[in-house]
C-alpha cells in the first residue's frame, strides 16, 4: 500500500458546486420590484413574447431571441423551426436572466466524457415532443443506478433502433438498457440546453458481471446527434409538470446485445425505476 497523503485543495476550479447558483433547490427567480411577474411558462408582454421559463428559471420577458442554427446537428426541420436561440452557453457563463441554470461543466464534456460537445440555450416557441430512453430496473452488468425515468438527457427525435440510438448518443451499455421509453411534451416558453453528442470512452465497466457481453462497445465516437438537457434534479413532479406535460411511458422491447453470463452476485436485488410520479398529469 502506497504512502498516503491528504491534500485539501480549496477552491480549485473543478466544479464550483458550492458557488453554482443553479443548485439551490426549487429556487425560483424573484420578480423584480414593482413589476408583475409573468405567468409561469406562459407568454409575457416583453420582447420575446415569453415570461418565466420553468426549467432553468430564465426570465424571458425582456430577452432577445434570435434564429437558432443547428449547424451540423441532426434535428428535424419541424423541430428546428420551433427553437429560438437565447444564448450560447460558453465557458464564461450563461445569461444572467437564468437563475437556475445547470453548471456548464455538468452539460458539456471534454473528449471522451460523453454528453455534449457544445451547448446552446434555446427556447421552445411552440410545444414540442421530447423523448427519453431509460432502464426499468438495474440489469445484469448495470450499475446500481441505471438511467431513471426522469433524468437530465433527452432527445427531440423518437428513438427507433436501440443500437442506433446508443451509438448516436454515446450511451454506455452499463448505464442504460433502453428497456423503456418516455415521451412528453416540452411546453412552449421552456429553455433547454442542446448540443451535439460528445465522444465517450471507457464503457467497459460492469459491476457484478461474471463477464460482460462480448459485443458491448467500449468506445463511442462523437456524433452530430442533438441531445437535450433538462434540469430535473430534486424537482417535484408538480414542478416538472410546469414544463413537461402529457408524458407517456412505454416498454421498448427487444434485445440489443447477446445475453450476459449469469452472475452469482447479480444485483437484481437492487430496487429499480425512479418511482417518480408522472409530471404534467394535471395539465
Amino acid at each position: 500500500m502506497p504512502t498516503s497523503t491528504i491534500r485539501a485543495v480549496a477552491f480549485l476550479a473543478v466544479a464550483g458546486l458550492a458557488a453554482a447558483p443553479g443548485f439551490a433547490r426549487d429556487q425560483q427567480p424573484k420578480p423584480k420590484s414593482g413589476k408583475p411577474s409573468a405567468p409561469p411558462g406562459g407568454a409575457g408582454t416583453g420582447g420575446s413574447g415569453f415570461g418565466q421559463d420553468q426549467n432553468y428559471g430564465c426570465d424571458l420577458s425582456h430577452a432577445t431571441l434570435t434564429a437558432w442554427k443547428p449547424g451540423g446537428s441532426v434535428v428535424p426541420a419541424s423541430v428546428a423551426s420551433k427553437l429560438k436561440l437565447l444564448a450560447t452557453y460558453s465557458a464564461s457563463g450563461g445569461p444572467s436572466v437564468c437563475k437556475n441554470l445547470t453548471p456548464r461543466n455538468y452539460i458539456v464534456s471534454p473528449d471522451g466524457g460523453g454528453n455534449i460537445k457544445t451547448a446552446d440555450l434555446v427556447v421552445a416557441t411552440q410545444d414540442l415532443p421530447i423523448y427519453r430512453a431509460y432502464s426499468k430496473k438495474p440489469f445484469t452488468c448495470s450499475g446500481a443506478a441505471p438511467a431513471a425515468q426522469y433524468g437530465a438527457w433527452w432527445s427531440f427525435q423518437s428513438p427507433k433502433s436501440k443500437h442506433d440510438y446508443r451509438v448516436r448518443n454515446a450511451v454506455c451499455p452499463s448505464w442504460n438498457d433502453f428497456s423503456m421509453k418516455e415521451t412528453c411534451t416540452l411546453k412552449k416558453g421552456t429553455v433547454v440546453a442542446v448540443g451535439p453528442t460528445q465522444s465517450k470512452t471507457r464503457c467497459d465497466l460492469g459491476p457484478n458481471c461474471a463477464a460482460k457481453p462480448a459485443d458491448w462497445p467500449v468506445d463511442y465516437k462523437a456524433s452530430n446527434e442533438l441531445q437535450v438537457h433538462l434540469n430535473l434534479r430534486s424537482r417535484l413532479a408538480a414542478d416538472i409538470g410546469k414544463f413537461l406535460t402529457n408524458c407517456k411511458t412505454s416498454a421498448w422491447p427487444g434485445a440489443e446485445f447477446k445475453p450476459a453470463p449469469t452472475s452469482s452476485t447479480g444485483n437484481a436485488h437492487a430496487p429499480g425505476g425512479s418511482g417518480r410520479p408522472r409530471p404534467g398529469t394535471t395539465h
Binding site: M1, P2, T3, S4, T5, I6, R7, A8, V9, A10, F11, L12, V14, A15, G16, L17, A18, F23, T102, Y106, I107, S109, G113, G114, N115, G143, A144, A145, P146, A147, A148, Y150, G151, A152, W153, V171, C172, S174, W175, N176, R202, C203, D204, L205, P207, N208, L232, R233, S234, R235, L236, A237, T265, N267, A270, P271, S274, G275, R276, P277
Partner: protein, 111 residues
C-alpha cells in the same frame, strides 16, 4: 509520510463535497455523468474504510446507497471533487470493484 487519518479525510470530504454527478471507479463511469445528481448525505470513517452515503432521485422517492472505499491512499479533496488514487477495494451499492491490475486510473473520482 504517514497514512492519512481516516477521520481527517472524512471531515475534509464532508466539508468540500456535498454532491456529485460523476462517479468514476478505476477510470470507468459507473453512471452516466450528470444524468442524475447524487447528494452526499453522510461520510464516515469505518475501520479501514471511508464510507459515503449517496442519495438521489426525486423528493417523492429518494434512493440511498453506500460507497465504500477500503484502505484509501493518496487522496485529493477539493471543492466539488474527490480523487482517491489507491484503494484495496471499492464497493458501491452491492457492486464489487477490485483494483484493475496495471491500471493507472485513480481508484475513485467523484465530482
Amino acid at each position: 509520510m504517514k497514512k492519512p487519518a481516516l477521520k481527517e479525510l472524512a471531515n475534509a470530504v464532508r466539508s468540500d463535497l456535498k454532491e456529485c454527478g460523476t462517479i468514476q471507479i478505476w477510470g470507468g463511469d459507473v453512471v452516466r455523468p450528470n444524468d442524475e445528481i447524487f447528494d452526499i448525505v453522510h461520510v464516515a470513517a469505518t475501520g479501514p474504510a471511508l464510507e459515503l452515503k449517496l442519495s438521489w432521485g426525486p423528493p417523492e422517492s429518494k434512493r440511498e446507497e453506500i460507497l465504500r472505499i477500503d484502505d484509501p491512499g493518496e487522496v485529493e479533496v477539493s471543492k466539488g471533487s474527490l480523487i482517491i488514487k489507491y484503494a484495496s477495494h471499492i464497493r458501491w451499492a452491492g457492486g464489487d470493484f477490485p483494483p484493475h491490475a496495471g491500471s493507472s486510473d485513480p481508484a475513485l473520482l467523484l465530482r
